[in-house]
Subunit: 192 residues, 2 copies
DNA sequence: TTAATTATTTGACTTTTATCAAATGATTTT
DNA sequence: AAAATCATTTGATAAAAGTCAAATAATTAA
């Protein structure tokens, strides 16, 4: 069986402490997958039936719009869960890619196995609910940023609230995440 | 006990069919609240401990930004659930108001009672998870609209995907929902 | 370590959207 | 039904952001 890192257990216990019984039941379903830079965890158009816990590395979620521009929608670092939410929840084709920005180690849990765990353990279902609630609130915050702030203010929001983004994400990816052009982002950085 | 309308039961059954036992357990916790136009279901700054099922009427969720502009973040019609998500989930002060746009009839479920139901019935917890997942995906879609589309395209998205918004929401509210100014929305409507 | 590639910045210009003011249209209240 | 209020449109102008091209900087690979 996979040796599960503490970081994963801590991640869970922080959201919803689980009984020994639940934890033990989860372990056999976990596998490890490693990705090298530019590998895809999820490909647009495929059904994503896996949830990834990022042990190390960084990933981005993006899609290609009508003009084949890449639009980045999410960035994931170590100790976070990466999923293509629409696809994973509905088991329909993914609208987005998830790609490793650097070499990335993940723990994988299959959709099907997660459903089994949900069925078997109420407290795991609760973990799922709490996770969904948390993500919902995070996405909502980002939605309001995009709804209300100017290019400059969006950048300042990131500086203030997600400083690690500046360090670890190429500006060309960050720009579309902020809904602005690379050149605008560069100019906005120059001011201030 | 409150006579619960079919629409509410149907709403639930469509997401996660519940046993008779669960349904019967929910009923005693439901109350009815009616709001006249401009009444507040939720006030910014207060902890929102209620979830509302809208039986009839329309509501808007909005907040006041730094310049006391109203920013509309969500619109709710009959047969949908209105919550101030951050506040309801975390039981911290609400960042938003929820206000009736017309006379509105709701069924109310208290946070505390919902937690009891979650504890008692795994299948109600599942309903909660599925609802959170669904809302997450909806919010994510709107986030991408705001991230990628021009004023004109945002309006066309609404025309195409939320035609009832055009009919039922004053343009002055719709504008900030779309992250554009009222005058721009009006101009964009003129074209095409 | 140099060449090649990739990322970021800068400049000149265009397009889009915001702003402010006023006019028109619609709705509500007396 | 007229007055008052509220919602939407229109016009002129300003500000913000996008576009295209090129320069510079940083990183990667031979």
């Amino acid at each position: 069986m996979l040796p599960v890192p503490d970081s994963f257990l801590q991640f869970i216990q922080q959201i919803q402490p689980l009984s020994q019984e639940s934890l033990v039941a989860i372990l056999p379903f976990l596998t490890q997958k490693n990705f090298i830079k530019k590998d895809f965890l999820v490909k647009q158009g495929n059904v994503s039936d896996e949830l990834y816990f990022i042990m190390s590395g960084t990933v981005r979620e993006y899609f290609e719009d009508a003009n084949t521009n890449e639009i980045n929608t999410w960035f994931g670092f170590e100790n976070s869960i990466a999923i293509s939410s629409f696809s994973f929840f509905s088991q329909k084709p993914s609208l987005t890619n998830i790609q490793a920005m650097e070499d990335t180690h993940t723990i994988v849990l299959k959709h099907e196995d997660l459903q089994k765990l949900f069925n078997q353990f109420h407290e795991i279902e609760r973990l799922g609910r709490l996770l969904a609630e948390q993500y919902l609130v995070q996405i909502e915050e980002m939605k309001i940023i995009l709804q209300t702030l100017s290019a400059k203010q969006r950048y300042e929001y990131i500086l203030e609230n997600k400083p690690e983004f500046i360090k670890r994400i190429p500006l060309k990816y960050l720009a579309s995440f902020l809904g602005i052009k690379l050149e605008t982002l560069s100019r906005v950085r120059g001011q201030k």
